[in-house]
């Protein structure tokens, strides 16, 4: 009986270990879990498979977030609802935009054709920062700092987990560079529908052409279509790449008229459970398509 009482009193005396953190983007969810481990309970608001450009939290989601001490977003304008969400949360809750301190790639007015969708062309900043693996390494550090700020007692755990996660990302970045090196330099030209791969192209030395226009119906002007076809022909680009969540109609049209083939789809919006698998899948498909 005494043992049972002692056990119960110990249980009562133990502080609650879990730090509740809400995540608005699937890639962020994975990173919070990597860094927080068992010390953090993740409230998944943005789930794998969602349309990150159209998602908005519902009343039920806001209710779930009430438990969270921190709400973590991808940032760079991807979650256009953040201002409204801020008004729905309490003062003691913090909204963290991971992308805020990650270097931005701006989309100039002239280059608006390169934006992923009309909405995300507004601020001129490309929100798809995660396609540069080194940026994801920064994200790990940002999340580590925020978790430590909210739960100082877990500092050592977060630091150790973050170190391990960063080491994995350094390896992944090396792997990407190694794979890209197998593509002849003159063939490193990535043609996709939307401008979701700007960070990837800059980080790994690709020229980029994103053919999809800004019109809401996703149509592309005849002049732009002809320009893209001519470019592919003149540079003898072997493959154009559709995206897993976008209509491949325009790209098929371009491929048909330029003689290029349509590659395996790339994952653009990060709406997946595993960051590493997404990068590996994208790079494998790009290499297979361009090494021809």
């Amino acid at each position: 009986m005494k043992t049972l009482l002692f056990f119960l009193s110990t249980l009562i005396a133990l502080p609650a270990l879990a730090l509740d953190v809400a995540s608005l983007h699937p890639l962020i969810t994975e990173t919070i879990r990597d860094v927080g481990g068992e010390r953090v309970k993740v409230i998944e608001i943005g789930r794998a498979g969602m349309n990150v450009h159209q998602f908005e939290p519902r009343t039920g989601d806001v209710r779930k977030m009430a438990k969270a001490k921190i709400v973590i977003a991808s940032g760079k304008g991807l979650e256009s609802y953040l201002k409204d969400l801020k008004d729905s949360l309490r003062k003691d809750q913090t909204i963290v935009e991971v992308g805020r301190t990650i270097p931005s790639q701006k989309v100039s007015k002239k280059d608006q054709i390169y934006a992923c969708c009309p909405h995300h062309a507004v601020g001129g900043i490309d929100p798809h920062w995660w396609h540069n693996v080194r940026h994801m390494e920064r994200a790990v550090r940002i999340i580590q700092k925020e978790l430590t700020k909210a739960d100082p007692a877990g500092k050592a755990i977060y630091a150790a987990n973050a170190k391990a996660a960063r080491a994995r990302l350094v390896q992944l970045d090396r792997w990407v560079k190694g794979q890209v090196a197998t593509i002849p330099k003159k063939k490193r030209h990535l043609i996709t529908a939307h401008a979701a791969f700007g960070y990837f192209c800059k980080a790994y030395g690709f020229d980029a052409t994103f053919v999809q226009g800004l019109s809401a119906d996703g149509e592309i002007s005849a002049a732009q279509l002809a320009k893209s076809i001519e470019q592919i022909r003149s540079e003898a680009i072997p493959t154009v790449f559709p995206e897993s969540t976008a209509n491949p109609k325009t790209l098929r049209q371009i491929a048909k008229h330029s003689g290029a083939s349509v590659g395996k789809p790339l994952i653009a919006d990060g709406s997946v459970k595993s960051y590493q698998k997404m990068i590996q899948s994208n790079v494998t498909n790009i290499v297979a398509g361009l090494r021809k």
């Binding site: 309490r90 935009e97 920064r138 550090r141």
Partner: protein
């Protein structure tokens, strides 16, 4: 018996006040905290950065100095959070680096990388043995 006009007015008012009391707390609730914007980051004269080192062989110590401030890495450390002065006009920072390796270490390499908030990574590799000091300037003016 009819109630007085004062009472007839006050009673609904008191009821309303009682109902409104808990609601006032909700209305007056201050919104969640949000970080400063990217624009305010660009204007800041001080940048926060992660200073990261990756060494091919274990080192004895690494000391990095920017202006009057120095940071010393112990052999187990690979990252330090630093602050350094930065202006958009100058867009550069000069680091003085001193590295010491144990005597038995062959010629080796140490990569030093700066990851400042809002700016692209900059890195420099130092080659040497036993002891070496170098100065490197990281510049964000050139096209990235």
């Amino acid at each position: 018996m009819t109630s007085s006009p004062v009472l007839a007015t006050l009673l609904p008012l008191v009821s309303l006040a009682l109902l409104g009391w808990p609601l006032a707390g909700v209305i007056r609730q201050e919104p969640a905290q949000q970080q400063a914007t990217e624009e305010s980051l660009e204007d800041s004269p001080i940048r926060s950065a992660d200073l990261i080192i990756r060494s091919a062989h274990p080192f004895t110590s690494v000391k990095v100095t920017i202006g009057e401030t120095s940071w010393t890495f112990d052999p187990e450390e690979d990252l330090k959070e630093i602050l350094f002065p930065y202006s958009a006009d100058q867009s550069s920072v000069t680091l003085h680096i001193e590295v010491q390796w144990p005597g038995s270490t062959p010629e080796t390499a140490l990569l030093l990388e700066l990851q400042p908030e809002g700016l692209e990574n900059r890195s420099h590799t130092i080659w040497g043995e036993i002891e070496i000091a170098e100065e490197v300037t990281f510049d964000w003016n050139s096209s990235e």
